[in-house]
């Protein structure tokens, strides 16, 4: 079952909350993982690993560095599950 973009955003916000303690409503599409959410590359890898499991997609390591904002990740996951 494909998830809608708003479901993916909600799911990502939960993962970020779980891994960093940031409130879910701080995780919006325009936020940069590094600059706004203060997520370093190792925490990012954790978020990616959990998201892969949660949404049943594969996010190759070489694509992770292109996921600058939360919105980038949402669109990547939405396309990957299609």
């Amino acid at each position: 079952m494909a998830h809608s973009e708003s479901e993916i955003l909600e799911g990502l916000a939960e993962i970020v909350n779980e891994e960093t303690g940031l409130p879910t409503d701080a995780v919006t599409a325009d936020k940069s993982f590094t600059d706004d959410l203060d997520i370093d590359s190792l925490t990012m890898m954790t978020v990616v690993s959990v998201a892969e499991e949660k949404f049943g997609v594969t996010i190759p390591d070489e694509d992770v560095k292109n996921l600058t904002t939360v919105g980038d990740a949402v669109s990547f996951i939405a396309q990957a599950q299609a």
Partner: protein
Amino acid sequence: MTTTLRLNEPIPGSRIIAVGGSRGENLVPNDDIVGPINSSDEWITQRTGIKTRARADEGTTILDLAARAAEDALARSGVSAADLDAVIVATVTHFEQTPALATLLTERLGATPAAAFDISAACAGYCYGIAQADALVRAGTAEHVLVVGVERMSDFIDPTDRTISFLLGDGAGAAVVGRSDTPKIGPTVWGSDGSLAGAIYQTRPWLDYRREELGEPAPERAELAEEVSQMVSPTLRQQGPTVFKWVITNIPKLARRTIEAAGLTPQDIDVFVPHQANMRITDQLLKTMGLRDDVVVGRDIADTGNTSAASIPLATERLLREGAAKSGDVALQIGFGAGMAFAGQVVILP
């Protein structure tokens, strides 16, 4: 007529009789190595939890490190070197193709003519060694087996490399394994994933150097960073984020299977000793493994650094020596590393 061969009388179980360790003599602080990699104490501490790494004196050889750890374990075990039937060394930093470091160690210890061989399974090497020792003892092939994980990683690093050099330390950890009336080493759960051979790798294969010597052009290795593309001694590199993700995704499942294989649940584990790769990996594993809140965790990496095959026995030796863990505790040990070789077992601590 088919001939049936006789087997040795099977032995009901094996156990680790004692562990021992030896660390490089110098605890080198972050500030002493950050210059050539344009890093900082703060960055290394935040990303890895490492404050110092053990580095051996120039005159201390890998054989010296191995022998010190082995003698420590033997002294604690009450087994004499002459009573060893097999000596297994796990290492990736014995820079001689042959003979095996295990044969040199066996002779140094006075254990000749024990069987002796090396294992190349990188940071999983010690757990691979314990798997061998357990099987050899239970099959009656050997009564006493010495397993040593030893690395002199300082011979294999490039001080200007930002990917892995700053993690690594020198040391050796050893275990004496013998018979037991009941199993005190649980089943080994293990494997590898060679599709990730490029995640932790030697910059150049040895044959490149031989080709150059023979006047043949050394193959271009486009994947090599420019600064190592010349024919300098090979050193270690890694794709850190790839390794990190592989470990946190796969090792919790391996841990669950290992605990189940021993007939236990995560709540039964008293002590967790993962390969000392990076403190962030250890913390992330703990989040997802369902171990008890009061589980004792090996965190030797903070002072010793990542000593590859030596890190698990060194962390175990320290927990026992400092009294954080005690004899009879149920410990889960898991190694993982290059080639994405991995292995785990539940053991009862000596």
